[in-house]
Symmetry: C2
Subunit: 394 residues, 2 copies
């Protein structure tokens, strides 16, 4: 009976939100907004006849991303997965290397690692940032690895732990400072997956620009979209050049000869998709403002709740609040599925976090630390409608 | 002196073509044409808000491709390379398997093979089709391989030869009937790379529909373009289902849960790019007609030439004439580079064929048969301006 009351209270709040905002029918978790020069840019792109791997919009999109994030170099690619794939290749991650990553994560990191025959090695997360628990990570590496010849060796598997992927979950910055410090101590390369973090800052600096390489996504559900798209950020010119080449067919420049000097991955973002991205960029400040405002609205509704709270950006951070999250208190984690069902029933799309990666059958044999916090977080997180237009248009 | 005269004669013909057709400035090898509903479709796509991995244009593009090629199943993807990659995965090609392919080929086949840690094994080509020499292939396999337990074993390397990729070069159909017969005899899976062959037919049947799997490309330089794009064709429902799943993030269908049952490749064609492709499809018959007409124009100019000829579609075939080719007679192969230079100098973009794959440093250690015909062909082939608008608009 107590449980039923808690669920009812939560659903009542959402019904109130629905009513007040006149939300009819199905409200999706996230939808893109096009109210700028999207169609005009696409028309210009068609008129230029450059719709494919070359064109002015690609160059412009690169510049816009550079200016916005302050990354020195940007390489646009077809999506966030391909960005992670090239990032791993350019850091020389290869067969049987281990790559540390949170188990509470989108599958792209583990997938891209497996493309190379490398091994995902799962680590625990913290409630504060939804990202990697830096304290637990350091303790774990102290105990389970040893640095030899500038390489971190997993004592148990004897494999090289080559890199760590830091994902900024739902746009909330992870503790990049602490994690990168640990990575340096253990000679790990660092990739920062900022796919969900365009417009998020840690200590005033844009996420994705702290590590050796940052990655981005502009999928349809992201803050800005190129249809399909992604990018690599780096401040290292050699990495930038290498990734630019890898993202092409690795053709050597010549007026007519077709010569290639390595395996290329053909991951370049088409000019057509960049044209859409350039138009979306015009609205980015509005989108972020709207999403931050949406957080405040949700927060107001739930501030006196004992049973759950709305996720707030970590301290010293600015979050783009890509996804809004209702976090259940530990006592109520058994209610997640009922709440999910009820929210979806009243037309508000709600979703749990991704199934923890180490629980997926095809990743279950890979190394992992104690993941007790991630296990609890998985049961606490409910993502709720997060589109910028929910606050923009009311 | 004789050589100089030959080059002069050839260049004079092209100057005449230029003049008669009032070609000013730079005439590219191939450019896309947009005179249909391209902009309208893109506008509709934006208005629908579905620009990414879902949308009506993806479904429509699939249907258009099915109707046009008569393939039973079609899976649209981000480009031709990704189509080859998924094709190889779905046929269980993996580490240390060998994959037969022509050395005279675009690098995508060899690259996609290497993504999997498999080994390209290069075979020779014939002048008649520019594709695999079937007679030489059979003789080579008879001598160098043995079939054991339904597997073809390379006698020398002891590795399994798992598959063969048949590429329809420049849109000219290869001898699919003979090659597939040989493949069956030697228990090889067959991929037909029809990236350049939309609108080409062997014995009245569309290329890409003879083998286990066909692949397509809709890059900016192809007969129709989606900006970046490709597709997989198959008549096998199990292969179609597997590839569809592999092309996604391999998420299992559920209203809110994020569960995945294998490694996905995130290669889906965005709806935005499909919208462009649907519009382009409206003009495909015009494009092919124009390109076939362009062949006849070139052919008329060169029909009395002893030193070179314009490539004609193989017998029993209809070619889309994607790329037009001036083929030098054997006595004149030393003139290729001079002609290339002169043509580019007068503003007609001309290119040689791709550097033979076995000559690329990173592929040079892989197995190959005698490639003498490909070596000669490489020196004979000059691709000349091939855009549909060269015949459409005059």
């Amino acid at each position: 009976m107590k449980n039923k009351k808690i669920v009812n209270n939560i659903i009542q709040v959402f019904k109130k939100i629905k009513k007040k905002n006149k939300l009819k029918g199905h409200t999706p978790l996230h939808e893109p907004i096009f109210f700028g020069s999207e169609v005009l840019n696409l028309k210009k792109c068609i008129q230029s006849t450059f719709v494919s791997t070359n064109g002015k919009f690609i160059i412009k999109f690169e510049k816009l991303l550079k200016n916005f994030t302050k990354a020195k170099y940007v390489v646009p690619v077809v999506n966030g997965t391909s960005a992670l794939h090239l990032a791993l290749i350019s850091l020389n991650v290869s067969r049987n290397h281990e790559v540390l990553m949170a188990s509470l994560n989108f599958v792209a990191s583990a997938n891209a690692t497996r493309y190379l025959g490398a091994i995902p090695h799962f680590i625990d997360s913290e409630e504060n940032t939804f990202g990697i628990d830096s304290l637990k990570l350091e303790e774990y590496l102290n105990k389970n690895s040893v640095v030899k010849n500038n390489m971190c060796i997993n004592k148990k598997t004897k494999r090289i732990i080559k890199a760590i992927i830091i994902t900024h979950i739902f746009g909330h910055p992870s503790k990049v400072d602490k994690i990168i410090k640990i990575a340096k101590k253990f000679k790990l390369k660092v990739i920062e997956d900022a796919s969900e973090g365009l417009g998020s800052y840690f200590n005033g600096k844009h996420v994705g620009t702290f590590a050796d390489i940052g990655t981005m996504s502009f999928n349809g559900n992201k803050i800005i979209t190129t249809g399909g798209g992604g990018a690599i950020l780096t401040n290292n010119i050699n990495i930038a050049k290498a990734i630019k080449h890898l993202s092409s067919t690795a053709k050597l420049p010549h007026r007519w000869e077709y010569n290639y000097d390595m395996i290329g991955y053909n991951y370049r973002l088409p000019n057509l998709n960049a044209a859409l991205g350039c138009a979306q960029f015009n609205s980015i400040h509005k989108f972020i403002k709207a999403k931050r405002k949406l957080y405040l609205s949700y927060e107001k509704y739930f501030k006196n709740f004992q049973e759950a709270y709305i996720k707030k950006e970590p301290s010293k951070c600015i979050s783009n609040y890509w996804f809004q999250t209702l976090v259940l208190r530990k006592a109520n984690i058994n209610l997640r599925n009922v709440i999910l069902r009820e929210l979806n029933k009243i037309g508000l799309q709600a979703r749990p976090v991704w199934t923890l990666n180490h629980k997926l059958k095809h990743f279950s044999k890979f190394p992992k630390m104690d993941l007790s916090q991630a296990e609890i977080l998985e049961k606490k997180i409910i993502n709720i409608p997060s589109s910028a237009n929910l606050s923009l248009f009311k």
